[in-house]
Amino acid sequence: MVEWKFDYSDLDKITENKPETGPGVSEKGELCGIMYDDEYKEIMRVFRGVLSLKEKSERALYATEVAILAVPAFYTAWNYRFDIVKALYGDSGDQLDRELDWLDEFTLANPKNYQIWSYRQAVLKVHPKPIFRRELPILAAMLDEDSKNYHVWSYRRWCVQFFGVLDEELTFADALIVRDVFNNSAWCHRMFVMKELEVDLAQRAASAEIEYAKAKILIAPQNISPWNYLRGIYNGILGSQFDAEIVTFALAFAGDVFDAHGDASPTANAQSSFALEFLAAIYSQNEETAPKAIAAYNALSSKYDPIRKSLWDHKIARLRT
């Protein structure tokens, strides 16, 4: 049975004559009723008791903790907990920090949970002196465990905007890209940083980002992330003005696709289907180079990425009309 830190026996009197309904109660013949174990039933009985009184106390807070540990996705308990925290702690930074400590520990044990992050945002919003650095260790620990955890990356971006601190983000994303060059979440975070910059700053930073992506492509040419990133930088920041240099760079991974009638060796296979897609997008920009785009789409369709044939056919059809 549950070892409670507080006494809840008075609650029994309140619920005594009421029919038992709610979390932890399965009615007879109920569709998809759950066979709750006794411990769970007890946890929820106490939870229903404090909730029915809307009690804002340390023991109520503890009851929500026990309920949340039993069912992390129990949003009703998260909401109630937030009401209690506001009532008990008001705007005391020290006490709200304790709540964040508790949350850190809970988060490490429940990496896939949705509720934690919106709850954490709510706590930071009522905190008198929230600190960006306070948020970093838990985020780093979570990404160390699961480097593409969607909620964690999303929360990190929320923090960056909430606190207005952008300085560490490129370094942070870089460390994860160094660890795994295919980590698209980290690439996406880099793009977030670029979009957060003022337009002229972003334009000045763009050439360094292009070099960065190119260096990573050299490590692994068949990697969609840096190619998408390159396109994103050119289209989003540089007005879709692709320069000759980037075309030459991409051509190095295109094999003999663009000189099929030339004297290239027959084994000159492309090293990256994404390079072909990248070049095709550039070549589609004007009529003169459109035939090259069609050549790339044909090569993708017949050889390098045939499962996506309907897209390549669609692209070719657009170029021909």
Binding site: G22, P23, G24, V25, L31, C32, G33, I34, M35, Y36, D37, Y40, R48, V71, F74, Y75, T76, N79, F82, Q115, S118, A122, S147, K148, Y150, W153, S154, R157, W158, V178, R179, V181, F182, N183, N184, S185, C188, H189, M191, F192, E196, I219, Q222, I224, S225, N228, T267, N269, Q271, S272, S273, E277, Y304, P306, I307, R308, K309, S310, L311, H314
Partner: protein
């Protein structure tokens, strides 16, 4: 072969024994020469540096390849009767104690199971079961008419979608649709609405992302309580979620493009009749890039693994684009092969994410929906109430999957019925 063994050894070192190799070396030319001798023409992923991403994917490719080899040349059908057992069991017995993790998602369990049955085994959702569905869900909505994760829980937007969708499957048994309090739901939806066009999942601590928008709009459309106030600013929120990759993220803060959030955004724009406001070409590129030559299934993000549930999230997004005349951006026959050969196993009923994973109700539903999409082509009717028509492009000998509406995740007929019913209630 020697090289492959080397790769296996590296995998064991890296993933099983936790020895992570720092990857900085460049691919040398002699390695790429092997490409010419490989069995498939597509660029072989064995050429890539062995990071976590590559090692994980190599595992999946190997598992899928084993199954493709095993079933080579066989016409492999959906084992609908077998899966039906799994679904009916859940409706006849109590769920085991570990299912308490879904305490706050009870309408979802019901929607997943009932919908899977209706799509795969029409006729097996009996009037008696429909009655029990209505009883349970309408009881959750007492006393204020708002749906929640279960009795005694706070009203929740995502659970409201699941509840209305599940009720839509009940053919208005016992006039249950009459008992849905549309006014209460509408007023509550307006309270969940945020100034930037989002919807919180509940009051007051609730996530605000494209899922909330989708659930709000789908519910409003099914119940025919759509107003211009409800839709105010919604499309601007959605436009800001489309990323440089072409898909949509959860929130307009540069979140990564993701299959689930993309579906929610695109289906929402379809309900708003605003498909052209997004960058359609880039969305098509992104959707198409989710399908991998080796596994044939769909992934949810760039450089992530295939997962059967994206057969719906991406498959439906593609079907919505197809319905609006933009062409098909996924390979339906190949997706079918992934579903039929890799997402089911004669050892255990129900559908699964990928080989080696256990089936569950969530995957069973979304994979069944995805499989249905592969059997039909889609066309949208014009006009503000645009509904999607599907026409059959494939008939399989053993099964007869119901046509589904890719915007709402329901069999087309059930969706049309509840919309017509509510239209007449006005």
């Amino acid at each position: 072969m020697a090289r492959r063994n080397m790769k296996r050894l590296n995998f064991i070192n890296g993933s099983l024994l936790g020895r992570k190799r720092v990857v900085t070396e460049q691919i040398h030319l002699e390695e790429t020469e092997e490409q010419g001798q490989s069995e498939v023409d597509v660029i072989n992923i064995n050429m890539l540096p062995e990071t976590e991403t590559v090692c994980d994917r190599e595992e999946v490719i190997r598992d899928c390849q084993e199954l493709f080899d095993k079933f080579a040349g066989e016409a492999h059908d959906l084992m609908a009767d077998f899966h039906e057992r799994y679904l009916l069991w859940a409706f006849s017995d109590m769920l085991p104690p570990q299912m308490k993790a879904l305490e706050a998602s009870q309408p979802w369990i019901i929607y997943w199971i009932a919908n899977s049955l209706k799509v795969m085994c029409p006729g097996s959702l009996t009037t008696d079961t429909q009655r029990r569905i209505c009883q349970k869900l309408l009881k959750i909505a007492e006393p204020d008419g708002l749906f929640a994760g279960g009795q005694g829980q706070l009203p929740n937007l995502l659970c409201t979608y699941a509840s209305i969708a599940a009720l839509a499957l009940c053919d208005n048994v016992d006039d249950c649709w009459e008992q849905i309090d549309r006014k209460a739901i509408y007023n509550w939806l307006m309270k969940l609405k945020t100034p930037d066009g989002g919807f919180r999942t509940c009051l007051e601590v609730g996530e605000c992302d494209t899922r909330g928008i989708y659930c709000a709009l789908a519910v409003a459309q099914m119940l025919q309580i759509m107003t211009s106030e409800l839709c105010q600013n919604v499309k601007f929120f959605l436009i800001r979620c489309q990323t440089y990759e072409g898909g949509f993220g959860a929130c307009p803060q540069g979140d990564e493009a993701h299959g689930g959030y993309t579906f929610c955004a695109v289906a929402s724009l379809a309900i708003l009749n605003e498909i052209p406001v997004m960058n359609i070409e880039q969305l098509m590129e992104w959707c198409s890039a989710r399908q991998y030559n080796e596994e044939k299934g769909l992934s949810g993000r760039s450089n992530k693994l295939v997962d059967g549930c994206y057969s719906y999230w991406i498959g439906a997004t593609s079907a919505i684009l197809e319905a609006h005349g933009y062409g098909d951006c996924i390979n339906k026959p190949q997706l079918r092969e992934y579903i039929l050969k890799c997402c089911q196993s004669s050892g255990r009923p129900g559908l699964r994410d990928k080989p080696g994973k256990s089936p569950d109700f969530y995957h069973t539903n979304y994979i069944a929906l995805g499989l249905s999409i592969t059997e039909y082509s889609f066309e949208a009717k014009k006009g503000p109430d645009a509904l999607v028509n599907s026409s059959r492009i494939l008939r399989t000998p053993e099964t007869d999957l119901q046509p589904i509406n890719p915007v709402f995740g329901l069999p087309s007929k059930d969706l049309a019925d509840i919309i017509i019913f509510n239209k007449d209630r006005l």
